[in-house]
């Protein structure tokens, strides 16, 4: 279920907002599940929280994808990373729906990553220590703007998918970016110079009134 702890006290969460606006705003019946839509939404929630049943990747490929995603966006002091946000599950789902060429590209990319890992440290990517993984990824991401070799191209592909999966997750949106939108906001607060004051946030001064 969705966690509402990110809602600022200053905002209004959906439930109180619904009360405030009356039932004309689409109220959500969670149970019993009578509508097909409700059933589908419930099933989606179930699916999102279920243990991963792989759809496209093998267990070994999944472990490698999970490892590179976590290396690109790791858990740090600020927020959990790609593993906690289940980015590898998102990628697996994405690949299960993609056309065969895309799947082949990923499978080949995972193999190329392991090959590079073995060549440098004699073990596959999932077996690398954090320091080793950083050293390897530093090498293969050096050309990320214009990747040429298969392993460089795979880094770019994996990073794009990781970014997409992580920053659309609950962890990415709320815990990492601390995104403030998508809530009921009776009055938009802009730069305070808009209200004729000096703005403490940006230091810009109130507009000078033109002499009459």
């Amino acid at each position: 279920m969705s966690d509402t702890s990110h809602v600022e006290p200053a905002g209004i969460n959906r439930r109180t907002a619904l009360k405030a606006f009356g039932a004309s705003v689409g109220s959500i019946a969670l149970l019993p599940l009578i509508s097909e839509e409700g059933a589908m939404a419930y099933e989606a929630l179930q699916r999102a929280n279920a243990a991963p049943a792989l759809k496209a990747l093998t267990k070994a490929q999944y472990a490698t994808v999970d490892a590179i995603a976590e290396a690109i966006i790791p858990t740090d002091a600020h927020s959990p990373g790609a593993r906690a946000a289940r980015v590898a599950d998102y990628i697996d789902l994405l690949l299960s729906e993609a056309n065969p060429q895309v799947r082949e590209r990923w499978v080949a990319g995972v193999a190329a990553l392991d090959e590079a890992s073995v060549a440098k440290f004699k073990v596959p990517f999932v077996k690398l220590s954090a320091t080793q993984a950083t050293a390897l990824l530093t090498e293969i991401s050096a050309n990320e703007a214009k990747p040429t070799t298969p392993v460089e191209q795979f880094f770019r592909t994996a990073k794009d998918a990781t970014v997409r999966g992580y920053y659309t997750s609950e962890i990415g949106i709320h815990k990492d970016l601390q995104y403030k939108g998508n809530q009921f906001l009776p009055e938009f607060v802009g730069c305070l110079t808009e209200d004729g004051k000096d703005c403490p946030h940006c230091g810009q001064k109130a507009p000078v009134k033109a002499a009459d």
Binding site: S141, G181, G190
Partner: protein
């Protein structure tokens, strides 16, 4: 709301005084004005009925499931680059079979059901990203809400620079109707006193954030104006409409606002009109032609093909009003052919389908404002509109390279998805931190410029290809000219120059023009004018050739201006409906 009432509406369910074809901004306004005046109206919509409470998923987070709002399996939207390279006609060639939708920038998981399937609705000819919504309310369910007035600089553009035609009306003729639309529907904005972007009757404005104030002050030194966006959204609420509530700053208006604070035709116009008891709405009604009695030269009604059953039936009325969207109304006129009207209805001038114009968009720039780096994220995308940089080219001076002008739409600050992340180099904790630091600091502006209404830019009926309902499809012969290309180059230059002036770093300039059609602002293909030889309608959208046939959507525009057309469509339509009511009282219709 309700599905189609049973039994289904048939020609025998009438009689009706007026048939309105289309339920978007123009159709909704026409139906509302007439039904409220006691006229019996039949509104025909090609798509399905819509229930705002069920269909608008305004606040749904992307993480409701693992698919994260991606289009469903097997659904593809054409990208801008693909228009240029793929074979046409869309949907009829093997390469195109995997594509279903042309959605331009408005396509997403929430709007896809409203947008037509390219396989059922192909087009031919030159590439054109023609976004068509077939659902109650049409494109107003997903529109961008930018509501700007035209001025005499636009309406009398020929007087100003010699190109094209002046409109047969001036700002003074339309200003009172702009005021009425502002008051009825609600619009947010600030009074700025800019002659070429007239003020309206505004509700609570949207405030600029710190980054936007910084840019505003920087470009003021160049004599350029950045103003809060003027949004077709009620920020204070509107009277006399139980379906609408005021804006609560949630953002995501383009999916459909379930408070109906944003203007969407169903809740703002159609439902109240239906409550009057004078409006019948028939959904799933694909209109294929206007029926005209050649002996009297009068329209007698329209031919409808049921979208689901493909049954054909003829509905009749004393008056027919086309509001199907610029190109669809044009297609209807062209397809209303007979032995004595080989070129279609109301086309004795031969200009139906010609003078096709829109907006050229795409060039612009984005960057990072150092002053905002590493500050707390603010709620920036909750506003129903961001900011607008007012046209500054060819207003008082003459640019050596091109005529007409362009404005910029854009914003500073954070949105739900950090667009800067894929391009931020590196990986690991430092990458995460870099994204986070710049997240509140992005700034991005995109230009919208006027495309000249040129006779050679046109649409016509394809002699062979038909849609799924057997109606001939449009063939496009439309390209940007040198004027648009030079203007687009200048857009990119000035966007860069202004971001630099504001102290932005990491500026990336977009020079590419998005493909034809991407603006979703089609205009001009049945233009109004005083001379029946060179225009299709009078200033009220009444066709010169068929007195009881009106056209009230973007097709009657004479030129495109660089302002967004929706508010003008509704002001013109209201003015036209006042004329219709007067003429009906006088017994002239």
């Amino acid at each position: 709301m309700d599905a189609q009432p049973t039994p289904p509406i048939t020609p025998a369910s009438g009689p009706w005084d007026v048939i309105v074809v289309g339920s978007g901004a123009a159709g909704g306004m026409a139906a509302f004005q007439l039904a409220m005046a006691g006229v019996k109206v039949l509104l025909l919509e090609a798509g399905r009925m819509l229930d705002p409470q069920k269909d608008y998923k305004t606040m749904e987070w992307p993480y409701v499931d693992m698919r994260r709002h991606r289009l469903p399996v097997g659904e593809f939207a054409l990208s801008a680059a693909e228009y240029r390279t793929l074979d046409r006609p869309y949907g009829l060639t093997p390469e195109m079979q995997r594509y279903k939708k042309v959605m331009a920038y408005s396509g997403n998981r929430f709007t896809r059901d409203w947008i037509v399937d390219e396989k059922e609705n192909p087009i031919t000819g030159t590439p054109y990203a023609w976004v068509r919504a077939r659902v109650l309310g049409g494109k107003t369910n997903l529109w961008g809400r930018v509501s700007l007035r035209f001025s005499d600089l636009d309406l009398k553009a020929k007087t100003h620079d010699g190109f094209g035609e002046d409109w047969p009306i001036g700002y003074a003729d339309i200003a009172p109707y702009y005021d009425k639309v502002d008051t009825l529907l609600g619009i947010s904005g600030t009074k700025e006193g800019i002659p070429h972007l007239p003020d309206g009757i505004f509700q609570r404005p949207l405030k600029l954030n710190c980054g936007e104030v910084q840019l505003q002050r920087a470009i003021a030194k160049m004599g350029r104006r950045l103003i809060p966006g003027r949004a077709g959204v009620t920020t204070d609420g509107v009277l006399n409409n139980k379906y609408r509530q005021r804006c609560m700053g949630r953002g995501r208006c383009g999916r459909g606002c379930d408070l109906n604070a944003a203007f969407h035709s169903p809740a703002s116009l159609i439902f109240p009109a239906r409550d009057s008891g004078n409006l019948t709405v028939r959904a799933d009604s694909v209109v294929s032609e206007v029926l005209i009695d050649d002996s009297t030269g009068k329209a007698t009604g329209v031919r409808v093909i049921d979208q689901r059953t493909h049954d054909t039936m003829d509905f009749s009325a004393r008056l027919v009003i086309l509001a199907a969207s610029c190109l669809e109304s044009t297609r209807l006129l062209l397809n209303s052919r007979s032995a004595s009207r080989p070129d279609g209805a109301a086309n004795s001038s031969g200009v139906v389908g010609r003078y096709f114009c829109e907006h050229v968009m795409g060039p612009g720039a984005s960057g990072i404002l150092p002053s905002r780096v590493n500050t707390a994220a603010t709620n920036d995308d909750g506003r129903p509109q961001s900011t607008y940089i007012v046209r500054f080219r060819n207003v008082t001076d003459r640019h050596p390279d091109f005529i007409r002008g362009y404005g910029f739409q854009g914003a500073s600050g954070s949105a739900e998805f950090p667009a800067l992340a894929p391009g931020t180099p590196g990986f690991g904790a430092s990458f995460k931190q870099a994204v986070r630091r710049s997240y509140p600091a992005t700034i991005n502006y995109t230009g919208f410029g006027e495309v000249l209404a040129r006779r050679e830019n046109r649409v016509f009926l394809d002699p062979e290809v038909r849609d799924a309902w057997g109606v001939p499809v449009l063939k496009f012969d439309y390209t940007f000219s040198d004027n648009e290309r030079k203007m687009a180059a200048d857009m990119a230059d000035t966007a860069e120059e202004m971001l630099k002036a504001a102290g932005a770093t990491d500026i990336s300039v977009r020079r590419d023009v998005l493909t034809e059609g991407w603006s979703i602002h089609e205009m001009g293909t049945a233009r109004m004018g005083a001379d029946p030889k060179t225009s299709v309608t009078n200033t009220f959208g009444q066709t010169h050739d068929v007195k009881n046939l009106f056209v009230v959507d973007g097709s009657i525009f004479v030129s495109a201006s660089c302002q967004n057309p929706t508010w003008m469509i509704m002001a013109l339509c209201w003015r036209a409906m006042d004329y219709v009511k007067d003429e009906m009282k006088r017994g002239n219709l």
